[in-house]
Symmetry: C2
Subunit: 500 residues, 2 copies
């Protein structure tokens, strides 16, 4: 190397063998979104920093920032949701509500790079904006199901909860707005790893062991009993910590039983009841014979603070170690943050009564969606051998051995293309057949077409099936030129499943 | 608005009505590239600044720069060619040469925003790396032709020249390596606008008029005569400046005559002769009955300094005002800039003799490609009404009027989707049929499917063709549920050209 090329951690190149299946995956996902009537949208990678900076916590610290020569403070988007709030505010009048949009794009987070975690990665988002109906939440769940099935996952579970139920729990514990509620939710996420015994200690007076010491959350034993009761609503509590790196998916109760447990637990608590209604509505809408993909799990909190209603996360039942692979939820307060609702509702009279938070009465811009971290899912699909590298899309390599026949070789290639066959003309400078066939072989191109002086004289082309004749270099099949297309189609069709 | 949203100049949002046709356009382009055997590749948006900074001149100044918390100097890619040089250097052993890759991606230039010029825009690049054969250049030209046709342009011209011919001209003028050669090439680009008389003045002693004065290039009258002779090789010189905003495409000579003129002009000049051979090879390879799309124009220089062989630019014959819309060329010296050729050729023995610049004998990594500024082309297609906004992909809106029938409505939508029909379930909170049909109408969804208590009882669905029945709100056609799919397919098929 003349000059060292700097290696940037957390960034990845997709060479064709990965990019071909990656793109196929993207296309499949896109097709599912489109089949539901989601419409594509594109926003810039660069946004004004002021749009992104509202974000609190970890993500806010991870923004790539810069300044341009005019002094504008810019940032690279860290998700596709913040740009969506800009879109909704700027173009509200042009959009029809419910606005169902999908967007695929690269997003940027200055995070610690880990296996499967990148600083630049693709997100595929689908959202329904401007509807507080459970129909919207339900369609998002059905969409998740269809995307997962399309990608080839057969055994997955969409776990749903409602943030309102967690609000209800916080109310019942008298922790609401005390910041302790968020601490509690975060602690519950650790149940798997630490087991209930350990978590319970933290909730009470903390840990006072030889090497570890913490002050604990100082909940009363009565409060902790109530937490314990809550935790048993969807499934028996796991008392022991899970083995390192292994999560187990609990044995859940039937959704009727869970709803009954919720009713017993919440009684007249308004937030809890609203949450129950949401879950009931969701289950009614999604009811079907095979409901093995859907499960209420009231212990799910989802990290992001902006969720307000149903939340979903998807796990691979046979591989729970991967964690949640496709998540989302309702976030009624986020997209309206730039909107002056007084003038907005003058424009959109019909929504004034409907777009109101049932708990606080505040105006909302209702929204629900799910985001797919597509680079990570691609890595998992490869890991599970559900996706294989694909070296090329070429079906026929047209060998170019005779300078005088370049023109005719191109015309042959074009004729094949015209019939939907991916025909690559060998464009290298070597005129050696052996060299060109080796090229085809290494790229796993199924067929080679040879057209030299002899073939020209006899008005034929010679086809070599490289899948079968790899060893026998002399085996070629002469085919009359006018039958070329159909013969090649037949050869490709025979093993079309393999070819690409 | 609660908080003003900053408006960033030079950036654009694509709402669905634009994004749907934009994506269709991208898909079409992709399909053409893939039909030739080009394989996709993806690289990050962020690159080490050191990779990008090699670029001299305007583009180098336009790089968006930033620094991360580890102190890495980063930049946003301004094209897809610099990342390609990194890919080739890092992965040379894994790639098969010729490496035919395509890449679509967003690129970033801090440029003065103008209509159709953005600071963030999409490029669609196709390149053949690792072949000095004219076959590679020829396939790129054929690719440009097919992409243009696929996009719906019927009357376009790919103008080709060779940089070696310009090198030959500079040699004959004794201007080689004097920097005056580049000044000259830039001046020739102004011929259209300024006319020969004006350009000639600049080449000689400059302009000495009342308000304008310049020192001129100080070429001798003999040199200027030679330039004049050169300019007439492909077409008669345009003596007068073109009208403001209007360019005219000259009446070119036949390519045989141009090659003859070149021969007369260059005689034994080596660079000129090599350039002629390139053009001859290209024309021989691309010869076909309808060659109206291809033209040798020796006055084309192409802005970028890195070109070394054939260069191409595409103009719309009926709309020359748009300038060059799809350009490229051979750039044998660029991709090798990080490569230590001594060790490289140890690995790739077979290329040692072939990958050598014929003029200087220096080692090269031969490459040829073309780049499509896809946002700009999209703007032109819209401008010329070759592309229309498309509001939605939804073919059937499943109206949701009865809470008790939500589940069945979803199942109906899913059945349609299962048969490849884009069926959107109305997910808003309004249960009013009128409201939902207005939604369908505004999005120009062709069909609405109604399923209420009556339809449920009679085991039918009611189909409303919104294309025909926009006025008559009562006109609905009841269809037995088991015939639903085929009836809808029939209705959509009847006007499938219109629907999307």
């Amino acid at each position: 190397m003349k000059r060292e090329i700097e290696y940037l951690k957390g960034f990845q190149d997709f060479l064709p063998q990965d990019m071909i299946p990656f793109q196929k995956m993207l296309d499949k996902v896109r097709q599912v979104y489109e089949s539901y009537g989601f419409r594509p949208q594109m926003t810039p990678v660069i946004e004004a920093l002021s749009l992104l900076e509202g974000e609190e916590g970890e993500t806010g610290k991870q923004i790539y920032r810069m300044e341009d020569k005019e002094g504008n403070r810019l940032g690279l988007r860290f998700d596709l949701t913040m740009p969506l709030s800009r879109i909704i505010t700027l173009y509200a009048k042009e959009l029809r509500f419910p606005y169902k949009r999908y967007q695929y794009g690269r997003v940027f987070r200055y995070d610690k790079p880990r296996p499967g975690r990148f600083r630049e990665f693709g997100q595929f988002d689908g959202d329904i904006i401007g509807s507080s109906s459970i129909l919207a939440d339900g369609e998002i769940c059905a969409l998740i199901r269809d995307v997962m099935r399309t990608l080839g996952f057969s055994h997955f579970l969409v776990r749903v909860n409602s943030r309102k139920i967690l609000t209800g729990l916080a109310q019942k514990l008298d922790l609401q707005d005390s910041q302790k509620d968020k601490q509690l939710f975060r602690e519950l996420d650790k149940l798997d790893k630490q087991g209930w015994k350990q978590v319970k200690k933290t909730l009470l007076t903390g840990v006072h062991e030889e090497k570890k010491a913490s002050i604990g959350f100082q909940l009363t034993p009565k409060q902790v009993d109530m937490v314990e009761e809550y935790l048993a609503i969807s499934a028996p509590i796991q008392w022991e910590p899970a083995e390192e790196g292994k999560r187990e998916i609990p044995q859940f109760y039937s959704y009727e039983k869970i709803l009954k447990n919720l009713e017993d637990f919440f009684g007249e608590n308004q937030a809890g009841r609203l949450g129950m209604e949401e879950l009931q509505g969701l289950m009614d809408f999604l009811a079907e014979e095979d409901q093995s993909w859907l499960q209420i799990d009231t212990n799910i909190a989802r990290g992001l603070d902006y969720y307000t209603g149903p939340v979903f996360e998807t796990v691979l039942v046979d591989h729970p170690g991967y964690g949640a692979v496709y998540s989302g939820g309702r976030y009624d307060f986020l997209l309206g943050r730039f909107i002056d609702f007084k003038s907005f509702f003058k424009e959109f009279q019909e929504y004034r009564q409907k777009w109101k938070d049932p708990l606080t009465g505040q105006p909302i811009l209702p929204a629900v969606g799910a985001s797919l971290g597509i680079d990570r899912l691609f890595a998992i699909l490869k890991d599970l051998k559900l996706l294989q590298p694909v070296k090329t899309l070429t079906q026929v390599l047209v060998v170019t051995m005779d300078t005088n026949l370049f023109l005719e070789c191109r015309q042959i290639a074009e004729k094949l293309r015209h019939h939907g066959i991916v025909a690559e003309l060998y464009t290298g400078e070597s005129r050696s057949i052996k060299h060109q066939l080796r090229y085809a072989d290494r790229l796993e191109i199924p067929l080679a077409l040879l057209y030299g002086e002899n073939e020209h004289k006899e008005n034929v082309v010679a086809i070599k099936d490289l899948r079968k004749d790899r060893e026998d270099k002399t085996k070629q099949k002469p085919i009359p030129k006018e039958k070329m297309v159909s013969e090649i189609q037949k050869l490709l069709g025979e093993t079309s499943g393999d070819s690409h």
